[in-house]
Symmetry: C2
Subunit: 455 residues, 2 copies
């Protein structure tokens, strides 16, 4: 599908023209992921009209690719029996996610309608916290016994893979009580002599995660070791499920969004996470955006109260007031750059606390250099414009100091937050921006007042 | 490895104590990915001292996990013959990356020393652009002929997988001229009757990428369809290689970093991409950070020249100058929030141009609501503090207008940029922040002057 906008236009035309067969053909020609993309842009009525044109196999596939909100919406709109059938066709982890996003009584009703075995497995999955390994894993894992021969193992895989919708990444080796003992890659299995025992070819020293491990931690492990899948175990080392890279993909996108939103002062963790800032209610959006703005308000009122003490300075030379936004703007800007570099560097692992001093030093030199360049420019411009050398020098000096200090604060704060085991991304929030504002203004106004007194 | 900092301390102690055997044991107990992490925090001398303690198999593995800079550094420090041997043990795509990061004459020397077949394959890989499919793919793909039976195919895989270090994701089906005809999953292969023909069980309608496709595009396809691997073809549909999810992982991290750095006004695309803003020279860092700061400077000088026209207003009521940072700070803050939400929403695909109006409307309501709340608070505080109802009302009204306008600008700009086919992340840069500043100040000073004249 080359152009989403055009495709949507065509789909809408087909719906308006009431050419059902053509719409059916058009839709079934797309990959389920494309259809999910199209659905995102349709109205609820259009969505359900298109959805019912698909065959059941495709309906289940499309459900898998939809966002949680749309999954719940569509399953609520269609016939209840069909919805049950579709849920039972989903992989276990997706089915549990869908049910977890529904109201309690709604999901209970579905669970009661689903086949016994499937529903009891789902009930277990639903006991895990959403953002832990248990919440994102798939409990269907390909296992073989450690006493099997390679031949038996291959035969087992052949049978199991046919029976259940299971991804073939690695084959895990367990004892009869489901304790995880090792792992064999399919490659090893296919290339080993068929009468060797599994216990001879398995890797025993394996990386695994615990059902209660947080998803952010799991994503870090995936990024670092670049595995395709990780086994999930409980406290007693029983194999409980498998987390695959596509589960982690969603986690990484979620965590990146959190990092980015946090950095511009939007609270991403409001407790009610079925709602999101873009699609939830406007009240929710206001609730998410106000806290940091309130802190900015308090901080800027401190700036106001400091600045207001200099009213005689403003009366003596009113133009100095006009330079305040210039200083605040550039200080804030260069400070944000430093914070962003540090936060991102720490989140990709490039910067560790150990090398903190190196970066503080480096950034300070950078800030001082840029500050000197900009100070010189500002001095010249102000001098030429206001024909006032003294004012030019003072504004230029304030600019240099301001930019250097902003860089230092922007570099140190994320490191300090990390040291205190807080989220460094919080540094990009308004507290630091406001602090830089206040310090910048104080430096500038002190310099100006001192200059006015001394001449 | 639970704690990187402690591990590094212990490693350094072992190096100081000159207990070579213990250091050797300690290091070889870690996963190669852990060792790469540790190396990141050591000095060049410490790195090479540790590296030479590893056995050759492990050395090659560690090289694979290192950052490009460290790969080139270490290979340059060790014996040339050993370096050649290590390179020849890397997967093709990693080997090509390492050579691509070296100086031209250096990589030529290695290429001449490597086994004939390997070096000619690397030379072909090196002709592709770094950030295209050709630049990140692995040319070793598992293929079977379309006339083979399932039994023959399994036998072929068994032999090929043993010979070459090849990942087993999907098995691609080609004709004798290497034209890509279809794909079979290992699962299908293992569960199909052994005497069926491959052409009967292969999927013909496959998603593939072109050697010249940009990596960002490839990452989008992976995210959308959640594949483990994609085949790479040339113009004539010859199968040239395979891109796997771990290659894409690095791309996603790179693109996210670009998005985040761009959004705080750091130019990520300076042409010389072997250097990065955090680790490159300070001159490079200054070059990357100055352009947007200069634009801010020009913008803020416009603000200065507008503000300076109101010098009589400042003389009449000096305290109004003190409120300028308050208005600029909050306007900038809420505007940034809107920009961030829009840019992120577009980059995750949640917001399409089609639904642009919906979000403009939604954000405007949100901005107006928050603006009213903050306007009211500011009015009350100013009134109580300065005992001046008029001033309180003016500042409050300016705050409401300012926040509403900032939200609207912040919402519209990324959409307009996207419509113009520019990168919406540029909106977070300083042009918009400065525009919001200028408009906010103009509104405020106009209101104040009008009020002072009318009383």
């Amino acid at each position: 599908m080359q152009n989403l906008e055009n495709t949507i236009d065509r789909i809408k035309e087909l719906m308006d023209a009431d050419t059902e067969q053509q719409l059916r053909d058009e839709l079934s020609a797309y990959h389920s992921a494309d259809i999910a993309d199209i659905f995102q842009q349709l109205s609820p009525e259009e969505r359900i009209a298109c959805f019912t044109k698909l065959d059941e196999e495709k309906e289940a596939e499309v459900i898998e690719y939809l966002t949680p909100q749309l999954q719940v919406e569509i399953l609520g709109d269609i016939d209840e029996e069909l919805a049950s059938r579709l849920i039972s066709k989903l992989p276990h982890d997706d089915a549990a996610d869908v049910l977890g996003d529904m109201e309690e009584d709604e999901s209970q009703a579905y669970l009661d309608n689903l086949p016994e075995k499937f529903s009891s497995e789902l009930r277990e999955l639903l006991t895990y916290n959403d953002d832990t390994a248990g919440g994102i894993m798939n409990p269907k894992v390909l296992t073989v016994g450690y006493t099997m021969s390679v031949k038996d193992a291959l035969e087992t895989i052949r049978i199991k893979a046919e029976e259940e919708s299971m991804e073939l990444y690695y084959v895990y080796v367990v004892d009869k009580h489901s304790h995880l003992l090792g792992v064999v890659s399919l490659r090893t299995l296919l290339t080993s002599p068929v009468n060797l025992s599994i216990s001879d070819i398995m890797i025993k020293d394996i990386v695994k995660v615990h059902v209660d491990d947080y998803q952010g931690h799991i994503a870090d492990i995936f990024m670092k070791y670049q595995f395709n899948a990780l086994p999930v175990v409980d406290l007693y080392d029983h194999l409980k499920g498998i987390v695959t890279w596509d589960d982690v993909q969603d986690v990484v996108e979620e965590e990146t969004t959190d990092e980015i939103l946090t950095s511009s002062g939007i609270v991403t963790d409001l407790g009610d996470d079925d709602d999101d800032v873009l699609t939830g209610s406007i009240a929710h959006a206001i609730k998410a955006r106000t806290p940091w703005l309130l802190i900015t308000l308090i901080g800027e009122f401190i700036a106001v109260s400091i600045t207001s003490r200099y009213d005689r300075t403003f009366t003596a030379l009113p133009v100095i007031a006009a330079f305040m936004p210039l200083l605040a703007g550039l200080g804030g800007n260069i400070g944000t750059q430093s914070i962003t570099l540090m936060v991102r560097g720490m989140s990709t692992g490039q910067i560790a606390l150990k090398s903190g001093w190196h970066y503080i030093w480096r950034e300070t030199i950078t800030g001082l250099s840029i500050g000197c360049i900009f100070g010189a420019v500002v001095t010249c411009v102000t001098w030429g414009w206001q024909h006032h050398v003294g004012l030019g020098l003072i504004v230029g000096l304030a600019m240099t100091l301001n930019m250097t200090i902003a860089t230092m604060i922007g570099t140190c704060t994320p490191l300090i937050l990390k040291k205190l085991k807080c989220d460094p991304a919080v540094a990009s929030g308004p507290v630091i921006a406001t602090t830089i504002d206040v310090i910048g203004l104080a430096v500038y106004l002190t310099l100006v007042t001192w200059y006015l007194i001394s001449v």
